[in-house]
């Protein structure tokens, strides 16, 4: 197998965290001279010199605690035996880590621990990978003189409520590593030590079962546990892994690095990689535990075709499915013209795969009808940041937040949607950074244990631009701007225009108060706080982009950062939090219909020439159809064939009645996916996809970080996704002959200046690379726009507030806004097929008590939700998290039909749908909506068509 396969071993643990200091300290440990940064502990200094002092309560992911008394050492001139984990190094210190005296003390300590520990090592799940077992060996424990009949915890009851791990208190040594991990790493504070002395025990929330507690199942406690107290159920079932492969999570835009710990081709557990540059050894419930979908029985592993969506599927060979597709596409082009077909690339697939799909469309289909689901999430980021700063990407690394003094989070809910970054952000807030939250909902960042936002701007959905303009108005009118930065770094005329605009009375906080619902003084306070910080950073999400003014809001954010000089160094910046794992990458790879890879417009003859020479084709100089345009053109009868890789537009896109009508109008719809998703129910060809565990490639996360995805098992259906695209290109008559994604990345690097220095070799060497990576920045670029902006001078754009057409009235008096929840991911196709449903088995409608009471609605009631686009029914959750007049739901379950209600309103510049603002009415009902009843019967029929295909193939085999 490849060198990526490493024999299983526990990651090296240096005992206490690494310290950074300009000053170095030299000491002697066991006669060895060691030099380490000031502030380093003796335990860590020894470990760095290869001297392993026994330890139990210490681990390098947590601050020193000093409770187990095992890491005691002798220090010349010091009294007693200090704990090496809590003792910092001093110049000239002379340390002894092994002596008869130390050995006796350590053995006695271990003897006490083991006197209250079951001796079932041989049948224990962590046998062979247990720190307590290791320490018993290290100190030479040979007997327990106290016996086992004294007071003990052997009868304590196991908690198996969490679907992914067990808590066995009989094995607990009360080292507090789990409690500290929950506090320091995750920042949830769900665990505590309950009781005192011998009765001390780990408790979740108020002594509740883990599943019912505040625990978010991130796995940090399991990772920190040195015994078998907190253990993955998969490990209990399967035993210890025998090798591991470092790869990248396929869930959100944080892009955590993981060790896939394997037994042959079976994943035993996914463990966050301590060397991971985006996550530094942390994870969330999705990446850590929710990988079972990859081998779920619903996976479709044989290609299928049919002539009509009203017919059963037929399982066929790959050859037949591909030639069927190519024939249909060619016929459509012959009949309706070259522009009658197109493709949708996936933000869940690798860079290499998205690159290949857009190449297929531009080179083999001969048009630019290619788009990606970033259209419906972050296309305004691409437009807004390209216009103002010159590059369609966030400006910082995640680690930059640790140098921010003020953090402003707008339209994003990181604890739910980007949990690992949220933990880092909360850590910085606990260190003292100030926090501004701009969100209609009181998210966990507004108030949760040890977190309280200094300002919560609870604005009405749809008024982001008004509020951002008002903040800028305060900054300029009160003279808080960074004049030097503006003069040196930004276009002068554009700034003067913007300055005159922003000072207009219509942009004052007082003028904006009525529209936005945010008191003027709150806006003023937040603006002053943001502008006065040495380092202020903005993080934003889909609550900014998914509006009719999404692009304007992104530019308003860039204006704020430029006018206060908060760009071009660590601790500041403009940071879009990307929804899916490879949203950044799919945009970088030229998935938009107007841009070739590297965000270069198709109308540029020089750029086209570069690709034309390399690809040996002529490229259409005009932009192609965006996803919503494709649907409109399909209904109009001019767009007839669509290749969709790893997207579920029939669940994720707005105004689903319209989407269904469009998809039903197609003559050939090809879906490449893991499951028969909602979109596949409208398909004529199903090409089985491969999960992230089954392929090689790269993902690019929200901080422009390119990380390797490594294959840990064979593709269930035989091909990696890029291979299927290649088969289709060849069948369409455009030759492709890549033998490995490495070669695709070589082509990307050859044709894209920002990727010029990227290669698989360099990724293996550095672990990950933040683009731009080229001659100027061979190691990549953590912080962008340092000396100057990518476009040269920063461009202030005038950002008039144009209210959305989607307004409340007497018929639709409430505003619906949609979002995500921690345990589920996007359309839920993956997470719904895991035990994560334990936390979120259905989408519910959050409604304020005031609105609920007016309508006679109580928690748990069926509620009809109607907009001008459609109607659905959800269960109600009455809560003050939403403000009066606003209702909220998620879109993780198809039968909820959240997107039946959302409308075709979209961002003016990019057509990104306005998911965040829909005028609705809510009312108590007794039964499901008409749409839901139609959905149920359509789904049943399509599943029957699938069953028939499978039964047919069994008959054929039998």
């Amino acid at each position: 197998m490849s060198a990526a396969f490493q024999p299983y071993r526990r990651a090296r643990d240096f005992g206490t965290p690494k310290r950074e200091s300009q000053r170095q300290v030299t000491l002697t440990i066991d006669g060895v001279t060691v030099t380490v940064p000031e502030g380093t502990t003796v335990l860590r200094a020894a470990a760095e010199a290869g001297i392993n002092i026994p330890k139990l309560c210490a681990t390098d992911s947590l601050e020193p605690f000093g409770s187990c008394r095992l890491c005691l050492v002798e220090i010349q001139g010091a009294k007693g035996l200090p704990a090496s984990c809590t003792t910092e190094v001093r110049e000239g210190m002379v340390v002894t880590t092994q002596s008869k005296r130390l050995a006796d003390v350590r053995r006695n300590v271990m003897e006490l621990y083991i006197s209250d520990h079951p001796l079932d090592c041989l049948t224990c799940p962590t046998n062979g990978d247990c720190e307590l077992q290791d320490m018993a060996g290290a100190v030479g424990l040979r007997e327990v003189r106290y016996g086992y009949d004294g007071a003990n915890h052997f009868g304590a009851k196991k908690d198996e409520s969490n679907p992914y791990f067990t808590f066995d208190p009989t094995k607990c040594i009360v080292c507090s590593r789990c409690v500290r991990a929950c506090e320091e790493i995750q920042g949830t504070f769900a665990l505590t030590i309950d009781g005192r002395g011998f009765a001390s025990k780990v408790a979740a929330s108020q002594n509740q079962p883990f599943l019912d507690s505040e625990c978010v199942s991130c796995g940090a406690c399991v990772q920190a546990c040195p015994t078998a107290t907190l253990t993955e159920k998969s490990l209990i079932e399967l035993g210890q892994p025998e090798h591991y492969v470092v790869t990248t999570c396929a869930y959100c835009g944080v892009g955590c690095s993981f060790r896939a710990e394997m037994k042959g081709e079976q994943v035993v557990k996914m463990v966050p990689n301590k060397d991971g540059h985006a996550n530094h050894g942390h994870s969330c419930v999705k990446g850590r535990f929710a990988f079972g979908y990859a081998t779920h029985k619903d996976r479709i592993t044989k290609p299928m075709i049919r002539n009509s969506i009203h017919e059963p599927w037929k399982e066929v060979s790959w050859e037949e499915a591909i030639s069927f597709t190519a024939k249909k596409f060619k016929e459509i082009q012959a009949k309706y013209g070259r522009h009658a077909i197109g493709g949708i690339t996936s933000s869940r697939c690798t860079n290499e795969e998205t690159y290949l799909v857009q190449k297929l469309v531009r080179a083999a289909f001969g048009n630019n009808n290619v788009d990606t689901c970033a259209r419906v999430c972050h296309s305004p980021t691409g437009y807004g940041l390209k216009t103002t700063l010159g590059e369609s990407a966030g400006t910082q690394a995640f680690d930059s937040v640790m140098k921010a003094d003020v953090i402003m989070v707008i339209g994003a809910n990181p604890p739910d949607a980007h949990p690992v970054f949220a933990s880092q952000l909360k850590r910085r807030v606990r260190q003292g950074a100030k926090l501004i939250v701009v969100d209609p909902r009181a998210t966990d960042l507004v108030r949760s244990p040890h977190i309280e936002a200094d300002y919560h701007l609870a604005l009405r959905p749809g008024t982001n631009v008004a509020v951002l303009n008002a903040m800028a108005h305060v900054i300029i009118s009160e003279g808080l701007e960074d004049k030097e930065f503006i003069a040196a770094r930004c276009e002068r005329d554009a700034y003067e225009d913007w300055r005159a605009f922003i000072l207009e009375e219509r942009n004052s906080p007082e003028a904006v108060e009525k529209e936005s619902g945010v008191p003027a003084e709150t806006i003023r306070g937040a603006a002053r706080l943001y502008a006065s910080a040495p380092n202020a950073a903005i993080y934003y999400g889909l609550g900014v982009s998914e509006h009719s003014q999404g692009s304007t809001a992104v530019m308003a954010i860039a204006n704020l950062a430029m006018c206060t000089g908060n760009l071009g160094r660590e601790g500041v910046g403009v940071n879009p939090l990307r929804g899916q794992n490879n949203v950044q990458g799919s945009c970088d790879m030229g998935s938009f219909p107007h841009e070739l890879p590297g965000y270069r417009h198709v109308s540029d003859p020089n750029v086209r020439k570069l690709f034309e020479q390399d690809w040996n084709v002529t490229i259409d100089p005009e932009p192609g159809l965006r996803i919503p345009n494709m649907f409109d053109a399909a209904i109009a009868g001019t767009f007839k064939g669509l290749y969709v890789q790893g997207e579920d537009v029939a669940q994720s896109d707005p105004d689903l009645n319209h989407v269904a009508k469009a998809l039903s109008s197609l003559e050939c719809m090809v879906v490449q996916d893991l499951f028969l998703n909602e979109t596949a129910k409208f398909a004529h060809v199903f090409l089985p996809g491969s999960s992230f565990l089954e392929k090689n490639g790269t993902f690019t996360n929200a901080e422009r970080r390119i990380s390797r995805v490594r294959k840990v098992m064979k593709p269930l259906a035989g091909y990696e996704d890029w291979e299927v695209t290649q088969l289709l290109a060849n069948a369409m008559g455009y030759p492709m002959s890549y033998s490995h994604p490495r070669e695709i990345m070589e082509e990307i690097a050859r044709l894209t200046p920002t990727f010029a220095g990227v290669s698989y070799e360099k990724l293996d060497e550095l672990g990950s690379i933040q683009w731009p990576c080229n001659e100027k920045a061979p190691q990549g670029t953590p912080t962008m726009h340092v000396e100057e902006f990518v476009r040269g001078k920063g461009l202030f754009r005038v950002t008039p507030y144009v209210p959305t057409d989607e307004r409340t009235n007497s018929k639709y008096p409430l505003l619906l806004t949609t979002g995500r929840i921690l345990s589920q991911y996007n359309v839920g196709a993956q997470t719904r097929r895991t035990a994560n449903v334990a936390w979120h088995s259905e989408d519910v409608l959050e409604i304020h008590p005031h609105d609920a009471e007016q309508r006679g609605i109580q928690t748990g009631d069926w509620v009809g939700l109607k907009s001008r686009a459609g109607e659905t029914v959800l269960r109600a959750l009455v809560t003050e998290r939403v403000m009066p007049g606003v209702v909220y739901t998620t879109f993780h379950h198809p039968e909820s039909g959240a997107n039946v209600v959302t409308t075709d309103n979209s961002d003016w510049a990019t057509n990104c749908p306005e998911y965040k603002v829909t005028a609705v009415q809510a009312y108590k009902v007794e039964k499901l909506s008409d749409w839901q009843q139609r959905f149920q019967s359509f789904t049943e029929q399509q599943l029957e068509f699938l069953r028939k295909a499978r039964a047919g193939s069994e008959e054929a085999v039998g």
Binding site: E622, G624, L625, R626, W908, A909
Partner: protein
């Protein structure tokens, strides 16, 4: 495609590029935007609609700036075919 949708999109583009002070800049910006992001077929359709009117169907009207921008596209198309 539904011409009302195209008109709505063009009006939105025009409204967002208009700072209320420099209509010429807003018109230039709208023309540029339509060329950079709309397919030729979408541009042709809105130009056709601009030239021929509603044909009796109920349609949304182009705003002043959007109409000026579409007029410019119409002129350019005419020059290109002349």
């Amino acid at each position: 495609m539904d011409v009302n949708k195209l008109v709505r999109m063009a009006n939105q583009i025009a409204a967002n590029l208009d700072d209320g002070k420099n209509p010429q800049r807003a018109i230039d910006g709208t023309v540029d935007h339509l060329k950079r992001f709309w397919t030729p077929a979408m541009r042709r359709q809105i130009v056709e609609h601009y030239r021929q009117g509603s044909n009796g169907e109920e349609v949304i009207e182009l705003s002043f700036i959007a109409a000026q921008a579409v007029a410019r596209l119409a002129e350019e198309q005419q020059q290109a075919t002349a």
